[in-house]
Symmetry: C2
Subunit: 189 residues, 2 copies
DNA sequence: CCACGCTTAGTACCTAGTATTAAAACCAAA
DNA sequence: TTTGGTTTTAATACTAGGTACTAAGCGTGG
């Protein structure tokens, strides 16, 4: 035993391997072997056991995800999944709260996601080619946690001129968590 | 005329090559050669001339860009750039309306981005470790277009118990475009 | 006719691996 | 101590998707 660093146990090494690849995914087997003080073959057996693909495959997967990403909140019309729509009357959408929508510390959803679901639903339900949000009165009733599934129901209450009055109520599986009253304004082009 | 023709064909092919790689970047030289009806070597000469790297390098670059992304809207705390903050009193943030924030047809900003900027600013300005949005009354005064730069100013109006009353006013370079009144609720852990 | 630009062919080499076989090292129980 | 099992290392053949380079063919204008 002349090695500077004592050789680690297999499990411990595999744990470190995973962590290392998590923090810096663009790393070759040879570099990993150096870091963990084992041979390249060992690293490859470890990857095989852990089901971790090779560098090029990892890179490709990341790039593909990045490519498909533009369909995030930014460019989508209705946030959440539109599951029912009767134009001019009512609409329903479902949205799941994912880890990236919550505050890390508290696991409570950032308010604007809930608002976005409701606002986009209110826009979808009205019978107008072009419209913008005019006024909104909103109330968050209970904090929403990671993993919850939110069901938003929008209802057109009345229409006056180019103004639409819409109620949106959002529930999780137990209770109402949010409600909003929107006045949407239809624009003449 | 033949020489010119050939040159034109080359230019045209290279243009098509660029377009093709733009729309589907995960494509091998061999597939490109098939598509453009030339040999693999020609494709490689074209890439060389145009300074387009090989598939693996392209993939790697995309993955690296995705990795370095300064976080999307999802996981960022303050939406927009926080440029001034006096905790418990006021705060200012700037956000530019980019093409992915607007409706394609009208080039008008989706309402929830403006809301998100204001809401996250209201949350940043209060002097509480954990807080959620309770109530909001918001008004969109004029439609906001692609490319505009929005300056949001938040001001804590009063504090009663665990409730903070905050005004946020958002302007573009000409006028006030949005205003909101928030009641934020500080939570006890 | 032949020079020039464009295109194709062919070869050697590269990286970061996989897949497989085999030998060595270690560790503990019988 | 011997045996057997796991773990580690080594060695070899093969792969994809290229680069780099040399050489040859093709088409056309001057």
């Amino acid at each position: 035993m002349g090695d500077d660093m004592a050789r680690l146990q297999k499990r411990q090494r595999q744990k470190m391997l995973k962590e290392k690849l998590n923090s810096s995914p663009f790393i070759r087997d040879e570099e990993l072997a150096d870091l963990l003080n084992v041979s390249v073959q060992t690293i490859r057996l470890d990857r095989l056991e852990l089901g971790i693909p090779e560098l090029r495959e990892r890179t490709k997967q990341m790039a593909e995800i990045a490519q498909k990403q533009p369909k995030t909140m930014a460019s989508v019309d209705v946030i959440g999944e539109l599951i029912d729509l009767e134009i001019g009357k009512n609409a329903i959408s479902i949205m799941s709260i994912t880890p990236d929508m919550v505050f890390e510390k508290t696991q409570i959803a950032r308010g604007h996601f809930v608002f976005s679901q409701a606002n986009s639903l209110a826009l979808a339900v009205i019978d107008a080619p072009v419209a913008v949000t005019g006024v909104a009165n909103i109330k968050y009733k209970v904090p929403i946690k990671n993993g919850e599934k939110l069901i938003a129901k929008a209802e057109v209450i009345k229409k006056r001129g180019n103004k639409y009055f819409i109620w949106v109520k959002t529930r999780n599986d137990r209770q109402e968590v949010f409600r909003a009253k929107f006045i949407m304004v239809s624009l003449e082009q």
